[in-house]
């Protein structure tokens, strides 16, 4: 009888189905990214401008003393490269959150959220897809920087991969959390002013913190409290084949907190979406 057939539940979703779902989400985000050539170009030009112009200018006035993980005096370009790598990921994380606000306004977030997989898994997969895209950007940037005499040891290019995944997850999770709180796409400009720039400038991306401590102790305290500083240091050490355990713990902890809060914010019962009338709104 067809009625009997109708109530037969499909087989439970096993680990293979989860992997297929993750792969599908990463594949879709990558395809979308490859279609947006302007985004790729912008993501690449931004750190290169900092490297070619800003760093070149400041190289003359700034000397960076020997400080771990560096074993010798380094040029300013070399010093800020890990910071610029983290900047690429910061912008990408926020871009991912921007696309989530867009998806929510356009309704395509609904297609993701009605998938039968657990919502936490779907959001983490989306996050990981954003990280994969940031990796493409970072490695192209590092390849260009190689010709600009920023040449970390070859092992660093491999060692930095897990660090990039973790820092990318942290920044992406932060973006996702923010995306749940942003009602409209237009409000995203505020994120630029209130999140991206303060996070980037009040960190160890552009200057070593010990120097900051000597001149402006308050700014030093802010930099120390800024999770972005730890993402930068995690990447910096990994790029030279070392591990900063403090940075690792802070970045892993912040990732867990931001991701947990983002999943909660997108939860059907407690989240901001339920209070506001759902993704895409409507009555």
């Amino acid at each position: 009888m067809s009625d009997a057939v109708a109530i037969q539940d499909p087989r439970p979703l096993g680990p293979v189905a989860y992997l297929l779902c993750l792969r599908g989400i990463v594949w879709r985000e990558t395809l979308r990214f490859l279609h947006q050539r302007a985004r790729f170009l912008a993501a690449l030009v931004r750190p290169l401008v900092w490297l070619f112009i800003f760093a070149a200018g400041f190289r003359a006035v700034l000397g960076v003393s020997i400080t771990p993980p560096y074993e010798t005096y380094v040029l300013y370009e070399v010093y800020i490269t890990p910071g610029l790598v983290a900047m690429v990921q910061l912008f990408n994380g926020m871009q991912t959150s921007l696309s989530m606000v867009y998806d929510r306004e356009m309704g395509s977030m609904r297609t993701l959220l009605i998938s039968p997989f657990p919502r936490g898994f779907l959001l983490s997969s989306k996050l990981l897809a954003g990280v994969v895209i940031s990796l493409l950007q970072v490695y192209v940037f590092l390849a260009i920087a190689w010709f600009w005499d920023v040449q970390p040891p070859l092992i660093g290019y491999i060692a930095v991969l897990p660090a990039l995944v973790l820092s990318g997850m942290m920044l992406g999770a932060l973006g996702m959390l923010l995306s749940s709180a942003i009602k409209q796409l237009e409000n995203f400009a505020g994120i630029m002013n209130f999140v991206i720039f303060p996070m980037f400038f009040a960190s160890s991306a552009l200057y070593p913190l010990w120097r900051m401590n000597e001149t402006i102790p308050l700014l030093y305290q802010i930099c120390v409290l800024n999770p972005f500083s730890y993402a930068v240091e995690l990447i910096r050490f990994a790029l030279y084949g070392q591990i900063s355990w403090l940075a690792l713990v802070v970045v892993a902890g912040c990732t867990a907190v931001f991701l947990g809060a983002a999943v909660l914010a997108y939860s059907p019962s407690r989240g901001l979406i339920a209070r506001r009338g759902g993704p895409g709104g409507g009555v």
């Binding site: 009625d3 979703l13 657990p118 019962s269 759902g278 895409g280 009555v283």
Partner: protein, 281 residues
């Protein structure tokens, strides 16, 4: 009549409904909505909504814009939780067993939700992945579904190049890719020309008949009510009529479903029921 809110049941043994008798156990309802209330702040979006839908039944949820149709769809698809009453899809409570419930559901939302820059096939394969379907199988099924809509030759084209009616057909094909038993469509023909509308109405009717698919079709367009449709009239969050089309018409003493709808949704203040000629074609 005063109504009281019944809190949503806790998720335990009763999360999956197993009928008391053997017959009930084998024929669960495709959708069973029981005493749903929902508010956004002080505004009541749904007020004690209850109805059910049998497998292979065609149910038209008729309501003006703002009646609560989209809220109801959001609760059924668990975009947010019902805080009162219960919603069961083929016997599974959507709040307690969302995974089982969602796998039976195919949904076409009111908003267009395709990726415009991806091809038709890429959109469908992505949807397949969201249901754990391997890409090769998703492609095979997509070809079958698109064949029915006459879009099989255009699978490689970007969605952006399609007309509104074609996009809707792709969305319906996508909703069917994981072989759901219940298809939800929220105002699927809004913004389409008459031919496209008719073609989509006919197609869904065929699916309902040939594949024994249960269909919940939300609309404010009277002419989308088919002779065999079960009709629910939803107005300001409340169910005002529930029954087969002809029965609903008889009960209101109207001459046809259009008049029934106008009578039911005409408010004392005169602002409801303003169905213009286009809507009430």
């Amino acid at each position: 009549m005063p109504t009281t809110t019944r809190p949503a049941a806790s998720c335990g043994e009763g999360a999956t409904r197993t009928g008391a008798t053997k017959a009930e156990k084998h024929i669960p309802l495709a959708l069973e909505i029981d005493s749903i209330f929902h508010s956004f702040g002080t505004r009541k979006a749904l007020d004690n909504v209850s109805f059910s839908l049998a497998p292979s039944q065609h149910l038209v949820l008729l309501g003006l814009n703002g009646a609560g149709k989209t809220t109801l769809f959001s609760l059924i698809t668990r975009l947010y939780d019902n805080v009162s009453g219960s919603i069961q899809v083929f016997g599974h409570d959507v709040r307690c067993r969302p995974q089982q419930a969602l796998r039976h559901l195919g949904v076409v939302f009111q908003q267009r939700t395709l990726d415009l820059d991806l091809s038709i096939m890429q959109n469908l394969v992505y949807h397949g992945a969201l249901h754990g379907i391997p890409p090769a199988r998703a492609r095979r099924r997509a070809e079958e579904e698109l064949e029915r809509f006459g879009l099989a030759a255009r699978t490689g084209e970007k969605v952006r190049k399609l007309s509104g009616g074609q996009m809707r057909r792709v969305e319906i094909a996508r909703a069917l890719l994981h072989r759901p038993r219940l298809l939800l469509l929220d105002e699927p023909t809004v913004g389409l020309d008459i031919d496209s509308r008719q073609s989509i109405v006919d197609h869904v009717q065929r699916l309902c008949r040939d594949q024994r698919l249960a269909v919940l079709w939300a609309t404010h367009l009277i002419d989308e009510v088919l002779p065999q449709s079960h009709v629910i009239v939803l107005h300001r969050g409340r169910v005002l009529a529930d029954g087969p089309r002809d029965q609903v018409v008889d009960e209101t003493g109207a001459s046809d479903i259009r008049e029934t709808f106008l009578r039911l949704t005409r408010d004392d203040d005169g602002d409801g029921g303003a169905v213009d000629g286009d809507r009430a074609a």
